[in-house]
């Protein structure tokens, strides 16, 4: 339905203060939502990293900052090693990776490591975003 609550909860989850007002208005660098809702007429699609089994972003990463955990299958970025070259953005066939221009690095879904369920999934009032674990 395009409410965008997933974006709000994602942004707050990835903020320093975890306070919605401060996260949106005061924090610098400004926190970023790692997913975005695409809107086209009456079509709404929340797009976040799919944690691909054959991750082109990882294969394209110039620095080794992106990696896929062989046991969980999760694709993560090590922010300390990201140089913001944007090669992964060009490689991702889902357009799921964002630029964080203030920090000069990428921002992508990390599946909310501090939560049992990702914030976007927990916040969706329509249960339109699902979190499903599959055997590797």
């Amino acid at each position: 339905m395009g409410c965008g609550l997933c974006e709000v909860h994602c942004l707050v989850e990835h903020s320093r203060t975890r306070d919605v007002i401060k996260a949106y208005l005061r924090e610098r660098p400004s926190p970023l939502a790692r997913l975005r809702v695409e809107r086209q007429d009456h079509l709404f699609l929340p797009v976040q990293c799919r944690h691909c089994p054959e991750p082109l972003c990882v294969y394209s990463c110039l620095t080794g900052a992106l990696s896929r955990d062989p046991t969980t299958g999760e694709v993560h970025v090590d922010e300390a090693h990201c140089i913001g070259c944007w090669t992964c953005i060009l490689a991702c066939p889902y357009g799921a990776i964002r630029r964080d221009p203030q920090r000069g690095i990428i921002a992508k879904c990390d599946l909310c490591p501090d939560r049992s369920l990702p914030a976007c999934v927990a916040a969706c009032p329509n249960e339109a975003i699902l979190y499903v674990e599959e055997a590797l």
Partner: protein, 436 residues
């Protein structure tokens, strides 16, 4: 009786310790957990991110932070790394690789991931001191050691390597003149519009640009003729400098393959499995001619992601998992000087039949261009607004007919929702459940 030369055997031997070699190791270990792997490299360090030598020269990063994989990578993957030793001769019949230190390594499967070396033009005077290339960590160290507070640099070549070096030198406060034979920077990677954005950024950063010129002669210093003091251009102009960098491209390192009798054109010729004409010898990366899905032929596309993916395909095949390389093409992302530019495939197709060019722009902040050939994406350029470019590259990779929604590809709100429903569902298939 002890043998004079030690001969040791390994299941997988990889020559080259950069993107392609590491891609192969990681692929082999997905299939074969224990087969012995040996990597030989003439560089003395663990694999590092070559593109980061720019940040390294600028003093923005360290060797430790530039490592492409964690320090325990080799140990954890059971890889013997023979570093700082050049491979000197390949014997296909005996399946041996001779090293310059006299050792010979026997192999069952071999990968030549030897990369490229900087192309050196035959310029009179180019044997003077103060002339550099910029593709390795050692190059960055040499330039750093040569810099003085009064240094002035001339960089020959305004391609990616020249740009990465210039970025570092500007950061260090060194005045730079770039000399480029063509009429714009990054002429092989960008269209005119995107190149003009780069040109503007370079000029704003204080870089002097000279186009349509090349260096006819390297001049010595008045007081020390052994050392570079400047250059004389084709048109007679003289530029003074004490640092002269040559960045006109890289030439595939194919000697091992060629001397062993493997077919070599510009690069080592490989099939879609990344195998050479010898069934157990593979090649990848800047040294190889692999399939380009835009041009539909095998050619050298010396970029990091293609090297990694080619190495990965080679590694899977070496370990016995049949895998076909789906192909790569020239693609680049640029972030120097605060830019955000991506490009892939054909940039300036001309007026050939069957081509169509779609362009859109938002004043100064964004520029989007997609080149179509017979209704399929053959090239893309995005400036500023780059985050959905990967979807377009994906359509290009898959050869999807985009005629029905072509205008959407350059729309500001382009995304997965711009694709026709069937195509979108197909792309998201592994991840989307049908509504109940």
């Amino acid at each position: 009786m002890p043998r004079k030369t030690s001969q040791r055997g390994t299941r997988y031997l990889i020559v080259g310790n950069s993107a392609g070699g590491i891609g192969a190791v990681e692929a082999i270990r997905q299939v074969d957990a224990n087969g012995p792997i040996t990597i030989v490299s003439d560089e003395p360090y663990p694999a590092y991110s070559r593109p980061e030598i720019s940040g390294y020269l600028a003093g923005l990063t360290t060797v430790e932070r530039m490592l492409f994989r964690p320090p325990d990578f080799y140990e954890r993957n059971g890889v013997e790394a023979i570093l700082g030793v050049t491979a000197s001769r390949l014997d296909l019949r005996k399946r041996g690789l001779e090293l310059e230190d006299g050792r010979t390594l026997a192999w069952d499967r071999l990968l030549l991931a030897t990369g490229g070396r900087p192309t050196m033009p035959p310029i009179p005077g180019a044997d003077r001191e103060g002339i550099f290339t910029f593709t390795t960590l050692a190059d960055a160290d040499r330039i750093r050691a040569a810099l003085s507070p009064a240094s002035r640099a001339v960089v020959i070549g305004a391609g990616l390597i020249g740009l990465s070096l210039t970025h570092a030198l500007v950061h260090l406060g060194v005045p730079v003149v770039m000399v480029e034979l063509l009429d714009r920077p990054l002429a092989n990677a960008l269209d005119r519009e995107a190149a003009s954005v780069v040109e503007r950024a370079l000029r704003e950063a204080g870089v002097e640009l000279v186009f349509g010129q090349t260096v006819d002669e390297v001049l010595g210093q008045p007081e020390d003729g052994e050392h570079v003091g400047g250059v004389r251009l084709q048109d007679g102009r003289q530029l003074s400098c004490d640092i002269l960098a040559i960045a006109i491209g890289v030439t595939p390192r194919t000697e091992l393959a060629a001397e062993a009798g493997l077919p070599v054109d510009r690069g080592i010729i490989v099939d879609r499995r990344m195998a050479t004409s010898h069934p157990d010898v593979y090649a990848c990366g800047d040294a190889a001619e692999a399939f380009d899905f835009v041009h539909g032929v095998e050619r050298v596309t010396p970029i990091w992601p293609n090297a990694y993916i080619g190495g990965r395909v080679a590694g899977l095949n070496m370990a016995g998992r049949e895998t076909v390389y789906s192909g790569g093409t020239a693609m680049n992302a640029l972030s120097y000087f605060g830019l955000a530019i991506v490009s892939a495939g054909l940039q300036e197709p001309g007026d050939g039949p069957g081509y169509e060019v779609l362009v859109s722009s938002d004043s100064d902040t964004a520029y989007r261009k997609v080149v179509l050939r017979q209704g399929r994406v053959a090239g893309l350029t995005f400036v500023g607004d780059i985050e959905k470019s990967g979807i377009v590259l994906g359509l290009m990779r898959d050869g999807t007919d985009v005629s029905a929604f072509k205008e959407a590809l350059v729309a500001p709100d382009f995304g997965l929702t711009s694709l026709p429903e069937e195509l979108r569902r197909q792309r998201l298939a592994p991840f989307v459940t049908e509504a109940a």
